[in-house]
């Protein structure tokens, strides 16, 4: 069935069945992905996928149902699904379908030219990256073990029985290359990465070079003795940590006892040099958008300002419970997911110093460039983390030898308070979460 007609019929059917207010959320996605190995494209995938979910208030409770099949049968199934699920929900917080804001910001997340880039150009970039990496002139680079180009173009739409009808498009190109360096028993990997809405800006040379340099630098890395070290977490690594712990700023997590920041708005929770921004209006931002997953207009705000917690992130439900206005941070993991809370473009506001200046101030210590195992080794509920890490030693302010097979352990809440300085080198690398390099003071390291 034609989609507009399907949505119209579905909302009518919901109202007829006694649903008080209903909303349709649709997501459409066209994607392209190719990978290569030894100069041959060995994995090539193109797709179009769309899904639709229906949310509705029935006897004051919110029910959900979703489908990828949009046929005549789907309408009664979705409506009944919403009613059945609403009848079982016991959560007594009043929920709502949003009537809409008077104004929405203008956000441009879509570059029409990117959708016109032909597959040949994408495959050329892919094969180029692999070739450039293998022909780097250093025989210790034995292999490209992962090489990928990916583009996607999608849209979301929210239509409800109050007459709200919002649409947003976005597209993006991503390239990634990983190389393996080997010398005797020594083995290491390095990665190069690029992403953006201007395809021509993805530079095969630059990405291949990044991957090769990283692998070669890390090739002879070794653990250091266990102990307490002065540590800088660099701008490539800090976003991973911030992203993992971003849920501590969610009012949803706080209201459910899953964040220790519950009720601490107005308190100093970080060092004074720390300001944490949530900016959904950022030009070119990967999570920029005019409205959130409930149709609420998005807003720019500081979550931490000079060390003080100014606000948690809210959707309509958590805001109502807390007696405040939604911050426009409602999220959906996918078209069929329930409403949650998530930051948009989320970053530590840059300070004055370069990484070299931070290193000079530190004197002797460790710069951490990569952590792994965040999904298991970091617990947002307790704030504890203990993670496999890589990086390099700093002696007298200078970068010296590479370090691997160590763990860095600490607690995110404590880390925020111990921050000594925030660098000026903010950059977003393929993620809506960003950070400059940050001097985090002393950390516990396990090594040899």
């Amino acid at each position: 069935m034609e989609k507009d007609l399907f949505i119209k019929k579905l909302l009518e059917a919901a109202l007829t069945a006694g649903v008080e207010a209903a909303e349709v959320y649709t997501a459409e996605n066209d994607s392209f992905r190719a990978m290569s190995h030894n100069g041959e494209v060995d994995n090539y995938s193109v797709a179009s996928r769309s899904g639709l979910s229906l949310r509705g208030l029935y006897k004051g409770k919110m029910g959900y149902a979703a489908t990828e099949a949009m046929d005549e049968e789907a309408i009664p199934m979705l409506v009944q699904g919403v009613i059945d699920s609403a009848e079982l929900v016991e959560d007594d917080v009043v929920q709502e379908i949003y009537r809409g804001d008077a104004e929405y910001p203008q956000i441009d997340n879509y570059a029409p030219a990117l959708d016109q880039v032909d597959e040949e150009a994408k495959l050329r970039l892919l094969l180029d990256m692999e070739k450039k990496a293998l022909e780097c002139g250093d025989e210790r680079i034995k292999q490209v073990n992962y090489n990928m180009v990916n583009t996607h173009s999608g849209s979301v739409r929210i239509v409800n029985t109050y007459g709200l009808d919002l649409r947003q498009r976005d597209n993006l190109a991503v390239a990634y290359v990983s190389v393996v360096a080997k010398d005797g028993e020594h083995v290491s990997t390095g990665t190069g990465f690029g992403c953006g809405r201007e395809f021509a800006a993805l530079n095969a040379d630059k990405m291949a070079k990044e991957a090769v340099e990283e692998a070669l630098f890390m090739l002879y890395a070794a653990p250091i003795p266990s102990g307490s070290y002065r540590v800088i977490i660099d701008r490539r690594c800090m976003p991973d940590l911030l992203s993992t712990f971003s849920s501590v700023f969610s009012a949803d997590a706080a209201q459910k006892g899953m964040s220790l920041l519950a009720g601490r708005e107005g308190e100093m929770i970080a060092a004074e040099c720390v300001t944490l921004m949530d900016d959904p209006h950022m030009a070119g931002g990967l999570a920029s958008g005019a409205f959130d997953a409930e149709g609420v207009a998005t807003k720019v705000k500081a979550v931490i300002e000079n060390g003080r917690l100014t606000t948690l992130l809210h959707n309509l439900k958590t805001a109502r419970k807390a007696g405040v206005a939604s911050t426009g941070n409602a999220s959906k993991g996918g078209y069929s997911s329930p409403i949650g809370v998530q930051p948009s473009n989320f970053y530590f506001k840059p300070g004055e110093k370069t990484l070299a200046q931070l290193m000079a101030d530190m004197g002797d210590g460790l710069v951490i460039t990569d952590v792994s195992g965040l999904h298991a080794g970091a617990n947002p509920v307790s704030g504890d983390f203990s993670l496999l890490a890589k990086g390099y030693m700093v002696e007298n302010g200078q970068k010296t030898k590479p370090v691997e097979q160590i763990t860095v352990a600490g607690n995110f809440y404590t880390l925020l308070k111990n921050i000594r300085a925030v660098g000026c080198d903010l950059e977003f690398v393929g993620s809506p979460v960003g950070s400059p390099s940050i001097d985090v003071g002393e950390m516990d390291i396990a090594g040899k």
Binding site: Y44, R49, V89, S382, D384, S386, L387, L388, Q405, A409
Partner: protein
């Protein structure tokens, strides 16, 4: 369902430009989930996943195209799009499709779709009720998920087959707090089974009790010290150590391209001689089992390592071409939006000869990791990491007190050689494993084992 007649048309169309193999994977799946917090049903969600993917090969080149439009026209358009990416002078005629038969090894007595959601919620309440017996548990989360996945697979070798996979899982999380600090414990039993899993495999109360006790124990535990030490890892989810440190590196995905540290080592000693490890997709109703894999190949029981010697890799169709070795029924994918590749199923270290008590009594000073969290690995270098949910400090062969926040790191090849005890009581636990072809249900397992030295991350 995917009709044979249409499948044949799609395959013929997919081969029309010179591919040498074509396949269609058609999926229709119903998912149900319920989440409960502090005893109140917070959301009930049902969804239907529906789509198909067409794959064409030419040599080592593979093309995958998927769509939600499963009408005859939609599938043919999908096949045409896949075919248009490959060109050669080869013109193969597909073998006429013939329905393949197998015996269903994973009986389901009660389909989840035949059970009212209210009865599922009753099972969740039983878990929640356990949490209220622990004053320090300030938050209890109980999630319930079931899924009925129907797949049809047909290919140009004449295969036409289908499978229904029914999954049921309950996931319990306890958050213990003293106001200043939080600790969590979780336990998530599941099975390739319907609602009858609650009669045999899923005990909501036992799961919640484990989660709550773990959270409370960890709330009172000091942080784990850092250093290199012997570690005893308990059975059940402890098997995640083999999954991360070794399993991923034995998947053809990384072996075929030579990227794995275990490439080219068949027949060689890669582990201590007390280690025998298997990947078995045939175990009845186990979380990682299925009758056929996502390429339609019957699953197998595969010995990966026997007495320390590397015997087999897990191999999918495309990589079997590269490696010139047979497929092992290990091709898996999250859903139709992923091309399949070699993945683990139920992967475990087999029971050995050693005594559980002796291995702690003779370890000196070290760590007893009673319950593991998850982990990850870089198969190219073998560097792995995982977190420990519940650990105890051991001094002079005696368990002293619990410690929190521990993680274990190392290289897979190194770790396997350092296993010096393998206990007698093998047990498995359920997890979701994420890789190239998405997130799939897998079991990890082992008896209690000891590793003579490993780097423990802590503070």
């Amino acid at each position: 369902m995917l009709e044979k007649r249409i499948a044949q048309e799609v395959i013929d169309c997919a081969l029309s430009t010179g591919g040498d193999f074509a396949e269609i994977f058609y999926e229709d799946r119903i998912n149900n989930s319920v989440s409960m917090r502090s005893g109140k049903v917070e959301s009930v969600n049902s969804g239907r996943l529906h789509g198909a993917g067409v794959r064409v090969y030419l040599g080592f080149r593979g093309v995958y195209v998927y769509t939600n439009d499963t009408s005859r026209e939609g599938l043919l358009a999908c096949a045409k799009r896949a075919a248009s990416a490959l060109h050669s002078d080869v013109r193969l005629t597909a073998t006429p499709l013939k329905a393949a038969d197998y015996v269903n090894s994973h009986p389901v007595a009660i389909l989840p779709s035949a059970v009212k959601t209210a009865r599922k919620i009753e099972k969740m309440r039983a878990a929640q009720a356990v949490f209220s017996g622990y004053p320090e548990v300030v938050q209890g989360i109980v999630n319930y998920n079931d899924s009925e996945q129907r797949v049809w697979i047909a290919n140009s070798d004449g295969l036409y087959t289908n499978d229904t996979r029914v999954y049921t899982r309950m996931y319990t999380v306890a958050v213990a707090s003293n106001g200043k600090e939080n600790q969590t414990g979780s336990e998530g039993p599941g099975a390739l089974m319907g609602f009858d899993a609650f009669d045999s495999r899923i005990d909501p109360e036992a799961a919640a009790r484990k989660a709550a006790e773990r959270a409370v124990t960890m709330l009172h535990a000091p942080v784990c010290p850092a250093g290199v030490m012997p570690v005893v890892i308990d059975n059940g989810f402890g098997g995640v150590i083999f999954h991360e440190a070794c399993g991923h590196s034995l998947e053809a995905t990384s072996v075929a391209t030579g990227a794995s540290e275990f490439s080219g080592k068949l027949g060689q000693q890669i582990a201590a001689s007390c280690v025998t490890a298997l990947d078995d997709g045939t175990m009845p109703n186990e979380w990682g089992s299925e009758n056929i894999d996502d390429e339609g190949t019957p699953t197998t029981r595969l010995v990966l390592i026997e007495n320390g010697i590397l015997k087999n890799y897990m191999i999918d169709r495309l990589n079997s071409r590269r490696m010139q070795m047979p497929v092992t029924g290990s091709a898996r994918r999250q859903d139709y939006s992923f091309a399949p590749t070699s993945r683990m199923r139920n992967t475990f270290i087999a029971a050995g000869q050693d005594d559980d008590e002796e291995m702690i009594a003779t370890m000196g000073d070290g760590l007893y990791a009673m319950s593991m969290g998850g982990g990850s690995v870089n198969p190219a270098t073998g560097e792995f990491n995982f977190s420990v949910q519940e650990a105890y400090l051991v001094k002079n062969g005696k368990i002293v007190h619990p410690v929190r926040g521990a993680s274990l790191i190392g290289r897979g090849s190194d770790l396997l050689l350092k296993i010096d005890r393998v206990g007698k009581n093998m047990r498995m636990a359920q997890g979701m494993c994420g890789s190239l072809s998405g997130s799939v249900p897998t079991n990890v397992g082992q008896p209690r084992i000891r590793v003579s030295s490993i780097t423990v991350g802590g503070r």
